[in-house]
Subunit: 232 residues, 2 copies
């Protein structure tokens, strides 16, 4: 087992929880970072806390930032409705519009904070649960974005100027289907009942109809497993 | 005159104020963005507000973020002393250590927020007053970092996927000496008495001995101009 540290971005959803389980299985001591960014569903932060504890994180830091002031996303702007039962969800990504749940520059900002914390921790490994397969159409979930961020990170920081080690942005689930992700996490002992995926929960229950619920339910169905989360 | 919008990062210091003056002189409608990031000298935000007004900014937004929690910089950590009268300040940058006033990943985080706002404003021009000549030894003030950030930005955002326009990160003063910067701003009508540079002000007065004051004073001396700011 390696004693290396890793910063793991953790939203409390299925993808990032699995990413944490994978980082841990690779021997990393995990420093989890979540964001309270004006999202409608602060409930996912409670999920992030549960997951971090269950996966033995060394520390879990919640950063409060204000992305809601920029508006323009159904995830942060109360005046925009979260779309439900979208027929185009299963279509190839190049025929999709960017969905209204896209938050401007969100992963860029999240990774920038992860980079700041990594620099302070003298840690060179950052894990992010982006996924390009069961793709929601977000530009900042693609491999070419991650590669470009990694190159930038290695020019941005003191470590890049003074040290021999380079930052590595790990995306262990980027090429997995949702079913493969769920099977991997289950194999690693992750309890998906602790996670939360819904964009538009009511009374703490998942709606079952937003993009995120639909992708999740499809994943569990394909994995031949029952989703332990309760739906409205 | 172009009617293009630009997001301009504005600290309230000499470099960013001049950068704003240059952006305005190029015909951009300027949207200024400053950060309250746990820095000791919130006094520089007052300077940013004065400068934005005097330069006719369309909007000035102050984003509150918490970089102090990461510590490790004399600018955000009260337990670290701001160095004074450093003899190595004039030395070539490759012989310098990275100074303790470096804030981890600061410009990466600032530019990420500028990118988010640009995306919402449908704006593709971002100005930042980094300077590699009178160089303080910060890795995130170098041209290669800016170029890498620009490439990343063009893969990160909806505009990169759906639109024909590309983000451009403008660094108009990157190759100027401090004296050249001051002469340029003066030519453009900027009142440097509105700006604030000191890392360690006392009772609103600049200390005259930190890296930032020393570079500023050297610049005014070389420009044969009197610095209108008051020193302790």
């Amino acid at each position: 087992m390696s004693a290396n540290k890793a910063v793991v971005l953790l939203s409390g959803g299925l993808d990032s929880a699995t990413t944490l389980a994978i980082a841990r299985s690779q021997g990393y001591t995990c420093y989890c970072m979540s964001f309270l960014y004006g999202q409608r569903h602060g409930i996912e932060l409670e999920a992030a806390k549960r997951v971090a504890v269950s996966m033995g994180a060394a520390e879990h830091r919640v950063i409060k930032i204000d992305l809601a002031q920029f508006g323009h996303s159904a995830l942060t702007d109360e005046s925009i409705t979260v779309p439900k039962d979208r027929p185009e969800l299963g279509m190839p990504s190049n025929t999709q519009q960017i969905p209204i749940t896209y938050v401007p520059a969100r992963n860029t900002i999240f990774l920038s904070y992860a980079l700041a914390w990594s620099e302070v921790l003298s840690c060179f490994d950052i894990f992010i649960g982006v996924n390009a397969m069961d793709y929601s159409g977000y530009p900042d979930c693609r491999g070419e974005f991650i590669t470009a961020f990694q190159e930038m990170a290695n020019l941005a920081t003191a470590a890049a100027v003074t040290g021999p080690r380079k930052y590595l942005i790990h995306t262990p689930i980027i090429e997995m289907t949702k079913a493969q992700i769920i099977l991997k996490g289950t194999e690693l002992g992750l309890d998906y009942g602790l996670t939360h995926s819904c964009y538009d929960p009511k009374d703490g229950l998942a709606c079952g109809h937003c993009d995120s619920c639909q992708l999740r339910l499809k994943g569990f169905a394909e994995a031949n497993l029952k989703d332990p989360v309760q739906y409205a």
